[in-house]
């Protein structure tokens, strides 16, 4: 409550005027781009609306787009019916704890972390030279690497990333998409089993089709067998 009448409005207008002539910080984004570090993608933040409700629609776009799968999320769908989750289920609960620790600046002992095994790089370097270290030939490089090592060791992927200049996340994204590429030796079958459970192979589709058509016929088409070793 001011004693001079009209002082309040004058103060208010002064602020307005000051703001009016202040330099603006809006960046006309696609035209002007601020100089940011190469891999900067902005800060992850969940926004709230004016009633304090989380604006996140649980659309999973962010978790899906994240190439290194550092975002995992879970929640009810918008109508409160299903609990949905994106990301590896076994890391779901723990990650929250960890990120709380990390935010508080403490180191996090990770029981799941194992330093990746070193592998002999001679064969890989030969493969990379054969393909001119060209990231466009990534599939062929990965296939040959798997042929040489029996699987795709992390150390090999790191090496491919260093020498081709392709990001590790891109290489990992490529390698994890194709069903014939694997990250573990063929003996460690649980990866293949997990893939099978999630994505029925062509062979099981064909046999299901045969059964549905009335009695298995078998031996339909040799080339139809799944490529997975």
């Amino acid at each position: 409550m001011s004693l001079v009448p009209g002082l309040g409005i004058a103060k208010g207008m002064a602020l307005t005027l000051r703001r009016f002539f202040e330099p603006k910080v809006t960046v006309m984004y696609p035209e002007d781009r601020r100089d940011v570090p190469h891999k900067f993608r902005g800060r992850l933040q969940l926004l709230y609306d004016e009633w304090g409700t989380l604006k996140c629609e649980t659309c999973f776009q962010c978790a899906q787009a994240c190439p290194i799968e550092c975002i995992d999320m879970g929640g009810m769908d918008t109508r409160g019916r299903f609990h949905v989750h994106w990301g590896a289920p076994e890391t779901y609960g723990e990650r929250r704890e960890e990120s709380a620790l990390r935010r508080s600046g403490r180191t996090v002992p990770d029981p799941a972390y194992r330093p990746f095994a070193a592998v002999d790089m001679t064969a890989l370097d030969k493969i990379l030279d054969e393909y001119d270290r060209d990231p466009a030939r990534m599939l062929a490089i990965l296939e040959d690497t798997q042929a040489a090592y029996g699987y795709l060791p992390v150390a090999a992927l790191k090496r491919i990333s260093q020498l081709t200049g392709a990001w590790y996340a891109m290489i990992y994204g490529t390698a994890s998409y194709y069903s014939h590429l694997r990250f573990e030796p063929a003996e460690a079958t649980h990866q293949a089993a997990a893939v099978d459970a999630h994505r029925p192979s062509e062979g099981s589709y064909l046999s299901a089709l045969d059964t549905a058509l009335g009695g298995a016929k078998g031996g339909k088409k040799g080339a139809g067998s799944p490529a997975r070793a």
């Binding site: 899906q64 990534m138 599939l139 194709y178 590429l181 589709y205 064909l206 299901a208 058509l213 339909k220």
Partner: protein, 441 residues
């Protein structure tokens, strides 16, 4: 070995003209039968513009399923300003139950190679890539041998036919995902990336492989091109249906027998299905699955539908992989639709939400219906969800994944109602839990 079915004498043979050659990789024999005749004519007499005009006059449409006019793609790619252009021949043949692409590549590698070279010449590309399934080893071997022989003879490769144009044809084995049959996914794989489709437009003919104009064709489209050049556009346009001339390879899979046949476009389904022979005694045809895993289930009274792009689309099916599966009265249509939808949902790449989550929900609805615990609103939900998926789809995979269940519901409603209302399967295939509908929440 895949069986080639005998077709009526009146049906023309275009794609499999040289299919009964003793050694398909023998260049001399193939040349006597006309191989590289078309490429020679195109380079020496026609020139690029006239070649595109010929294809345009022949009204050749893409055999990959969508039926897009080939000449439009070529013209777009040829007129888009770019430093390089590519031709990609899609011989992946994603449908595991269909072997037509590998069959054609095995039986007549020269037709595909020559066709790819003609496309490359017409659009001004120097590189044509034939993508083949890695497990079709015989096709890859023969293609490799055929390309080697063609280069040695100077027909393709450096300075093809002494024209000054370089037309490099190469084979790239790809594997690992069903989705590679989709054109933008295949381009991603050839770029060495994760195989997920891209938004169109821009179409690959404007921005395709490595951002360059790329004409992507199915092997059958490409194999028809030399024939058109040799025999003229009018001869080709006279074959098959008026709107989509030419022939197409189909893979039949019936209780009477399996096999591949070359049929003219627009032939009635009834005649095509009859190629495999009569059904065993006592069996009657119940449904025809047209179009592979994401195809539509058509009832017997739609057997007069022409095998053509638009009539099949309006009937609720599509040409797709060129597969025709005949189900006799032992099969349960709902069960069949569930198997197909489950396969398609499992193969979804996960890029878009309608596909990743929507198709999964479709499978769950089908599961509920078949397990005898349907909800009263399931049919409505199925229709709504399918419409949403189709409306918001990024690529044809998700749009078509809705077809088996939708067409099953459209034509076999009484059978579906038996499942939902009575928890009974008329065909005796599924064993719904014998509880009244709605008893389990």
């Amino acid at each position: 070995m895949v069986k080639l079915l005998k077709t009526p004498a009146a049906w023309p043979t275009i794609l499999l003209e040289r299919a009964d050659a003793a050694d398909p990789t023998d260049l001399d024999a193939a040349s006597r039968a006309g191989a590289f005749d078309g490429l020679r004519r195109v380079i020496r007499n026609f020139g690029a513009t006239a070649t595109i005009a010929t294809i345009s006059g022949a009204n050749l449409r893409g055999r990959g399923g969508a039926g897009f006019p080939a000449a439009v793609k070529w013209r777009t790619a040829a007129t888009t300003d770019a430093s390089r252009r590519y031709v990609v021949v899609n011989g992946y043949g994603a449908d595991p139950a269909t072997g037509t692409d590998a069959f054609l590549l095995e039986r007549d590698p020269y037709a595909v190679i020559e066709g790819a070279a003609i496309v490359a010449f017409a659009i001004g590309a120097t590189e044509a890539i034939i993508a083949v399934r890695a497990d079709a080893t015989e096709a890859i071997r023969r293609l490799g041998a055929a390309i080697g022989a063609g280069e040695e003879a100077g027909f393709i490769g450096f300075d093809a036919f002494g024209s000054g144009h370089d037309i490099t044809v190469s084979v790239r084995p790809v594997q690992g995902a069903y989705m590679l049959g989709e054109e933008t996914v295949l381009l991603k794989a050839l770029e060495g990336k994760r195989g997920q489709p891209e938004q169109r437009p821009p179409h690959p003919a404007e921005r395709g492989l490595f951002g360059m104009p790329t004409v992507v064709h199915n092997v059958q489209t490409v194999a028809a091109v030399p024939w058109i050049v040799r025999h003229g556009a009018e001869a080709f346009a006279a074959i098959g249906a008026p709107d989509s001339p030419g022939t197409i390879l189909v893979q039949l899979r019936t209780p009477a027998g399996d096999g591949i046949a070359e049929v003219p476009m627009g032939a009635p389904l009834r005649e095509i299905v009859a190629l495999a022979g009569k059904l065993p005694a006592g069996r009657s045809l119940k449904a025809v699955l047209v179009g592979g895993p994401s195809g539509g289930l058509l009832p017997p009274d739609l057997l007069d539908t022409p095998y053509d792009f638009e009539p099949l689309r309006s009937a609720g099916a599509h040409i797709g992989s060129g597969s025709l599966v005949v189900a006799d009265d032992r099969a349960c249509v709902v069960d069949l639709a569930r198997i197909l939808t489950r396969f398609c949902a499992g193969e979804a790449c996960g890029k878009t939400i309608p596909c990743r989550i929507g198709t999964r929900r479709l499978v769950e609805i089908a599961d509920r219906m078949l397990d005898g615990r349907p909800r009263p609103t399931d049919t409505i939900l199925l229709e709504d969800l399918s419409a949403d998926i189709a409306a918001s789809a990024l690529c044809d995979h998700e749009r078509l994944t809705t077809l088996p269940l939708l067409s099953g519901m459209r034509y076999f409603r009484s059978e579906l109602d038996e499942h939902i209302l009575r928890s009974a399967c008329p065909a005796g295939v599924c064993h719904p839990i014998a509880v009244a509908a709605g008893a389990i929440p």
